[in-house]
Symmetry: C2
Subunit: 171 residues, 2 copies
Amino acid sequence: MSVFAHHTHDFAANPDAALQAADAHFQKTGVRFTPLRRRVFEIILRAGKPIGAYDILERLRDHGKIAAPISVYRVLDFLIEQRFVHRLATINAYMACVTPEDPHAAQFLICQCCGSVTEISDPIIDKAIAEGAKTAHFQVSYPLVEIMGVCADCVREGKTPASGCAPDHDD
Amino acid sequence: MSVFAHHTHDFAANPDAALQAADAHFQKTGVRFTPLRRRVFEIILRAGKPIGAYDILERLRDHGKIAAPISVYRVLDFLIEQRFVHRLATINAYMACVTPEDPHAAQFLICQCCGSVTEISDPIIDKAIAEGAKTAHFQVSYPLVEIMGVCADCVREGKTPASGCAPDHDD
DNA sequence: GTAAGGTCGCTACACTATAACAAAATCGCC
DNA sequence: GGCGATTTTGTTATAGTGTAGCGACCTTAC
Ligand SMILES: [Zn+2]
Ligand SMILES: [Zn+2]
Ligand SMILES: [Zn+2]
Ligand SMILES: [Zn+2]
């Protein structure tokens, strides 16, 4: 297990548990968690890292389902609305929220080398943004924070974004 | 003049001054500020708010220039690289930097009602992100902060994103 | 059962961005 | 000024991302 298992309930790391939790949640709230919505959520969970809308579409088709892009986007809108999925604007991809039951402002650490993304929820960043916005008399509805860079693993391997993320040669 | 003229040197508010500053800068550095690049930068400046790549293309054509999308994107890459332009990932648009001479991490306040965008450079937000990333042993290359919400002007008019940004009726 | 509302399928389309290669302009050097 | 190397731009084609509009179907409420 990595030193950087950053969350105690990392649903994304346990697709089955996450699906069951979602089942329970929608059962409780009465919101309809249809087979299609469940299937798309499962695909996102099992991807293990951010996945594009058209990749989701492809995997739907792998399972015999004939679908058009719009179907995927509609489900994505639903899952985002329900806070089970986050959208990453920088890389046009979608990933499962690690703590969907807990409303939160999230920040994302996006590795430009390996494509991994870590969701964090740092109250200090959150507060700083709230304060900054307040100063400008700006009413925040959604604070998007996507931090591009190199993840701990890739740093350890000496990779850099400049060199196309190949390990650095110091010659 | 608005109460929210947020910057002392808001180049975007003075296209001519900004262009002259750019001329001087590129003269000094020896980097080539070609007519096309200058023209695109001028279009972005005169737009007064974020503008899409294809809108830039259209305005180029208005001035008799025949151009393909790729030309615009190449120039945009250049201007971003030179830090004279920022890209807004959330809305796929580009805007002039308010303080291009001063390297900075920027944050953007994007109004979902009127489409206006304000660039701020809040050291507290910046520091909070740096600290948060450090905790995760993540090496930051570019911290993207795009805060969606309602600007001061629109708040004053009672607009909300929920109602499609029409003024709120309380009936 | 029937009407209403929500979900999904289907076709087509709009918008955003890039690849590959050729032509032209610029620069450095002699 | 000629000339090769480099950079910039043009040209054509294509990839990638996201929506509109409408009708069928399915679920829910009465
Ligand atoms: Zn989350
Ligand atoms: Zn990495
Ligand atoms: Zn700036
Ligand atoms: Zn506004």
